[in-house]
């Protein structure tokens, strides 16, 4: 695959991820807005969308329009960080094909959230929602640097395997 095609693919994945992250964040804010407008059924549906991935305990959520957001502070931080990471992605990496972040970057970005989260689960301390959001934000900001090149590589890989399969079939026909 040419460099140009590679760039186009990375750009397409980045654009799709950015749109997806924007919709996801909008849904998180939409839930309390709907609840405030007494659209209970719709609000419940939006809260239900996020229930598999978040405990949604009101005491650990930010509030908007007098109602909790659809996810807790930490999850909001992760999603907001993911969106922020996507915004900065072209400035940091450009759209060229690139490798994944190093293990060291992963450990550095994960450590604050892991320490805070695991200590909270163990009952050692209760961090405020703001701190949870910030530690989530740091972790989430690293994720696009896995997601964008990884998903672009998935499409490259599929194309390469298809080309190799076509070649094998054609070679088989030539032999016959």
């Amino acid at each position: 695959m040419s460099d140009d095609a590679g760039r186009r693919r990375v750009r397409a994945v980045w654009l799709a991820a950015t749109l997806g992250a924007a919709v996801w964040l909008a849904l998180i804010v939409l839930a309390p807005w709907l609840a405030a407008r007494s659209s209970t059924g719709l609000a419940r549906a939006v809260y239900a969308v996020f229930s598999p991935v978040c405990h949604q305990i009101p005491g650990r959520c930010f509030f908007l329009f007098g109602h909790p957001l659809a996810v807790c502070g930490r999850c909001l931080g992760i999603y907001a960080g993911f969106a922020a990471g996507l915004v900065f992605y072209p400035l940091v990496r450009g759209f060229r094909r690139s490798g994944l972040p190093s293990a060291r970057s992963f450990v550095i970005a994960t450590l604050p959230m892991a320490v805070d989260g695991l200590a909270g689960l163990a009952g050692l301390w209760r961090s405020p929602v703001g701190l949870r959001a910030v530690t989530g934000l740091v972790w989430g900001a690293l994720l696009p640097f896995y997601f964008v090149p990884g998903v672009a590589d998935f499409f490259d890989l599929r194309e390469r395997r298809r080309a190799a399969g076509d070649l094998e079939r054609a070679a088989g026909k030539n032999v016959e």
Binding site: P52, A103, F106
Partner: protein, 181 residues
Amino acid sequence: MSQQKPEYFRPALTAGAVAGLLSGIPFVGAGNCVCCLWIVGGAAVAVKLLVKATKAPLTSGDGAVVGALTGIIAAVVDAIVKIPFQSFNLEMAQRILDKAAEMGGQMPAGLDGIFQGASSTLSPGWFLLGLFLSAAVYAVVGALGGLIGISLFAKKAAAAAPPPPPTAIPPADTQGPTDAA
């Protein structure tokens, strides 16, 4: 690099079943409150198993596929494991919300309705809808876990630039000797 497709399903099934089981058990499942720990971790473990089972170097695309597959399998197992714990989970959630209300917090709109109509959440329609949503979200989270796993366990292979695909089909007379020749 080999263009042969690695065997994704077995590592995804093993790691996804464990991740789904851990996600579905009350209290233990709370691990998912820390950045979907069981799903991300399960996908990373699936990559580790895939690296072990595959001789050819793996790319980040392989990590995304096995991770997404792990997430989907985990969502199915999670949904099944949660069935017997449904009433217990609802009771626990109700207690948490009651406690939050005592402390001055507010319940999400209409959530009380969900608890009152708890039996409806066990209907096949709700079950399938919940399963579909979980599978979609867990697939994305699992893909991320798989990519993290590739960066941790197969770093060199992931960093290597893939070779361009062959563009020309060699004519038959340039092939080596074959049985048909």
